[in-house]
């Protein structure tokens, strides 16, 4: 350190200046990506990688739909079909939805809370690479024999006596690696959100997306140990002669279900809450109105998370279970519908009497409550346990989870892509292509999954590789298959949109949507340090305040020079 004799640069007043020596130059090109600890680059790598897995998982789904399009399909063998079932579910949950939300979190948590990076940047890089290796370890199994016990890997089917090949082991490694990735990432999010918020951003001024990422992180920290323990026990059952889940040795297959779902149900909310957060950011921006009931939505998020830990056995209503347990889990599952309903009402109330700007992000964001309410209603129907005895493990369940996870999470994720792409790339996505993609996806989605309710109601179990013509399920399945290809085309349109717009999109500027939160305060894409000056936060919509200040100062609102609004 030296008090500089050199000519002052940015420093006009001539006060002492710190000169740094020996700062190593950052590697450029692919090496730069490989070694980065910048939360934005890591976020983009997350989004890119998880989207590749989304496409792969989607192709697996389309192969299954083709197989089921006609009775007695012969496209794939039963073993391949079970492999596809297992790979599709595992990929979409562990390699797409959970990590893509971590990707959005990585990119936008520091920006939205006015921080310069995550709390632990290197740990952040570690969580990305653990995810990548988890995906590689899992997909390596397709060169040997993929897992065939479903994404739930129920014992004893997943035990070595019935599936001796390495597929289930690859699945176990995936759970461990992605689990560690999520755990490390979750700790990082908690540390970042609790400690690094801009001045003035109290709990009551935290953006709702940040609330959901915080709750997502706590849920991961609570739920992941259960599955980590369960898969480790399965691993020792498979290879070291233990009998945790093997009844012939005194173990219990039902124990697996309890451990799995103690993680598995919170996992559902881990997948949906950040999507709720995304649309809670988008709806007020495009309605030009504050979010309706900020506190209620934040409180609902926390109470959903708490209740999510108390409903796991509603996945097990058909196992031999005492009445009192059935009743408890029915009531707890009912209860979780209340905070979820509150959110839906609040979103609609946000749009009510707004001045809605009909852009693509709003289309996807408004589709979420429209579709999720169907998943929510079928969820209440399924929570009535005697009714669940009929519908459990049928296509009704398949329809239900897809309305929740595709209609909910994935439409929310797409809303996030259209909303934040300008910030990440500096360019706008095409509106025309975006709306086309939306409509094709929306119609395709409903065509695929609405009829699956009926297939389930008429007795079609899930995870079957074929069905006889006499079963009467052909019509439902054919409609579903046609719909699934439409859905695929819709997704493809967005992929094309993204690829095209990276180079050729309209220049976005700092704040193309007139956003409410701090990420719109910086440039698009943001510089490596995010903000030169971090503004003091005075409300839940800091950007609105800043625009007002700027307007008052008499400058054109478009040219927000950062220091102007720093007014602390």
């Amino acid at each position: 350190m030296a008090v500089s004799d050199a000519p002052p640069r940015m420093n006009a007043v001539g006060s002492p200046e710190i000169v740094m020596h020996g700062l190593r130059e950052r590697p450029r090109g692919w090496l730069g990506w490989l070694t980065t600890t910048d939360h934005k680059k890591i976020g983009i790598m997350y989004l890119f990688l998880t989207f590749i897995f989304f496409i792969i998982g989607g192709v697996e789904a389309l192969i299954m739909r083709l197989q089921l399009a006609v009775p007695d399909g012969t496209l794939v063998t039963p073993e391949t079909y079970n492999g596809l079932v297992s790979m599709h579910g595992t990929t979409m949950i562990f390699l797409f939805i959970v990590p893509v939300l971590a990707g959005f979190g990585n990119y936008f948590v520091p920006l939205m809370i006015g921080a310069r990076d995550m709390a632990f940047p290197r740990l952040n890089a570690l969580s990305f690479w653990l995810l990548a290796f988890g995906g590689v370890a899992f997909y390596a199994s397709i060169f040997f024999e993929p897992p065939q016990a479903g994404w739930t890997s129920y014992a004893p089917l997943s035990d070595d006596a019935y599936l001796p090949s390495g597929g289930v082991d690859a699945w176990i490694f995936l759970i461990h690696l992605t689990g560690l990735s999520s755990m490390v990432g979750a700790i990082n999010f908690v540390a970042t959100i609790q400690n690094m918020r801009a001045k003035g951003m109290g709990w009551g001024r935290m953006p709702l997306f940040i609330w959901t990422i915080l709750v997502y992180s706590y849920l991961l920290i609570i739920a992941l140990p259960a599955i980590a323990a369960a898969v480790t026990m399965l691993l020792t059952d498979r290879h070291f002669g233990t009998d945790f889940f093997d009844p012939t040795g005194g173990g219990d297959p039902v124990l697996w279900q309890h451990l799995f779902w103690f993680f598995g149900h919170p996992e559902v909310y881990i997948m949906i809450l950040p999507a709720f957060g995304i649309i809670s950011e988008i709806l007020p921006v495009f309605a030009r109105k504050p979010i309706f009931g900020y506190r209620a939505i934040a409180a609902a998020t926390v109470s959903i998370a708490f209740l999510a830990l108390l409903v796991w056995a509603h996945h097990m209503f058909t196992t031999p279970t005492a009445n009192v347990v059935l009743v408890f889990f029915m009531l707890s599952s009912f209860l979780i519908a209340v905070p979820t309903g509150i959110k839906i009402f609040n979103w609609i109330a946000t749009l009510w009497k707004g001045s809605i700007v009909m852009k693509t992000p709003l289309y996807f964001a408004a589709a979420l409550p429209a579709l999720f309410v169907i998943g929510g209603i079928s969820g209440v129907i399924l929570a009535v346990f005697p009714v669940d005895w009929q519908l459990h493990d049928s296509y009704f369940i398949v329809a239900h989870i897809h309305y929740v996870l595709f209609g909910g999470s994935v439409f929310g994720i797409f809303a996030g892509i259209y909303y934040w792409f300008p910030k990440m790339s500096g360019r706008m996505l095409s509106e025309g292509l975006g709306k086309l993609s939306f409509w094709v996806m929306f119609v395709g989605f409903n065509m695929t999954f609405l009829v699956q309710h009926s297939a389930g109601l008429s007795g079609m179990p899930r995870r079957i590789y074929d069905y006889p013509e006499s079963a009467g399920w052909w019509g439902f399945n054919l409609i579903s298959t046609i719909g699934s290809f439409m859905l695929g085309i819709g997704v493809l349109l967005t992929v094309i949109n993204v690829i095209r717009s990276i180079k050729h999109g309209k220049i976005a500027g700092n704040d193309p949507w007139k956003g409410n939160t701090l990420e719109w305060f910086t440039q698009s894409p943001p510089p490596e340090n995010n903000f030169d000056v971090i503004p003091r936060v005075r409300s839940v919509e800091p950007m609105k305040d800043i625009r007002r200040e700027v307007k008052k100062a008499g400058e054109p609102a478009g040219s927000v020079a950062q220091p102007v609004a720093s007014g602390t």
Binding site: V384, V387, I464
Partner: protein, 295 residues
């Protein structure tokens, strides 16, 4: 920057969703089994599940319509208009928020109450009807470890799931695979387990599923009033041929059931005798060969 609201852009969404809503309303009252409601008609428990399902469905239809309706209405009605006024910056409304929270809770409490009303009909096996097996032809070996509270006799059949078939053990040591033959008008209670991986017993028209878990015994029941064949299949992924693990229940008159048991017992006996003969033959040839080899 802003799109001008264009009428033709709103129309598809509005029309599609309105049409869907109307279709749903129109079809709900005539909801037929398999499209809007679960399969039923074979057994009283399946019928009770169907009635319970319908109640929950009918309660949820208005909620669905209100939510989708206000959402679509808002998206159409409150679009940005050029030169329109700035929207009122409403941040919430505590009485409104409280009332929908309480409203949602009340609806769920009511649904829970209705579930408890139907639970008994679905869960507890009733006594057999007059003309059923227990009151008509007597089977000497009807097991009755714990008679149902109503006191009527039931027929116990053990069900065992195995990759990829079902084994049925009737009272008196008679067993069969693939097809369960049962008497009509008789309450049949099933004791369900599995001997390898997990399976799930499901004949949709005869009620809900019961998982077949190795090391556990699960229970369910049905009572069929008219002869016929009821089909189902395994509902828990159990391996490569999970889809081929079908189940059939054939309901016959008590007399025919009696005859079936006798015939089946005879068949098993013959098969066993045949097996013993085969073994003896095999052993004797083996001994012959052994003698030759030795000599």
């Amino acid at each position: 920057m802003q799109d001008r609201p264009k009428a033709f852009r709103r129309r598809p969404l509005a029309l599609a969703l309105a049409a869907a809503g109307v279709a749903l309303l129109a079809l709900a009252p005539v909801a037929s089994a398999g499209i809007f409601t679960p399969e039923a008609g074979g057994s009283p428990n399946a019928d009770a599940i169907d009635r319970l399902y319908r109640i929950v469905l009918y309660v949820s239809i208005p909620i669905f319509l209100v939510v989708e309706g206000t959402l679509i209405w808002s998206l159409i009605k409150f679009r940005e208009r050029r030169g329109g006024p700035e929207p009122a910056q409403i941040r919430g409304n505590t009485p409104l928020e409280l009332s929908w929270t309480i409203g949602a809770t009340v609806i769920l409490v009511v649904l829970a109450g209705i579930t408890f009303i139907y639970l008994g009909d679905i869960k507890n096996p009733p006594p057999s009807d007059p003309g059923g097996l227990a009151s008509g032809v007597q089977v000497a070996s009807i097991d009755q470890p714990s008679p149902p509270p109503s006191g009527g006799k039931t027929l116990d059949i053990s069900v065992n799931g195995q990759q990829y078939l079902w084994r049925f053990d009737h009272p008196g040591g008679t067993f069969d695979y693939y097809e369960m033959v049962v008497p009509i008008k008789t309450t049949v209670t099933l004791k369900i387990t599995a001997s390898d991986v997990q399976h799930s017993w499901w004949i949709p028209e005869l009620g809900g599923k019961a998982d077949a878990v190795p090391g556990h015994t699960n229970e369910t029941w049905f009572k069929i009033s008219k002869p016929g064949i009821y089909k189902g299949q395994c509902a828990e992924l159990c391996g490569d041929n999970h889809a081929d693990m079908r189940a059939r229940v054939r309901a016959v008159t008590p007399e025919e059931y009696q005859a079936y048991l006798e015939q089946r017992a005879q068949g098993i006996k013959e098969a066993q005798t045949g097996l013993a003969e085969q073994r003896r033959e095999r052993e004797s040839t083996a001994t012959d060969q052994g003698a030759q080899d030795g000599g």
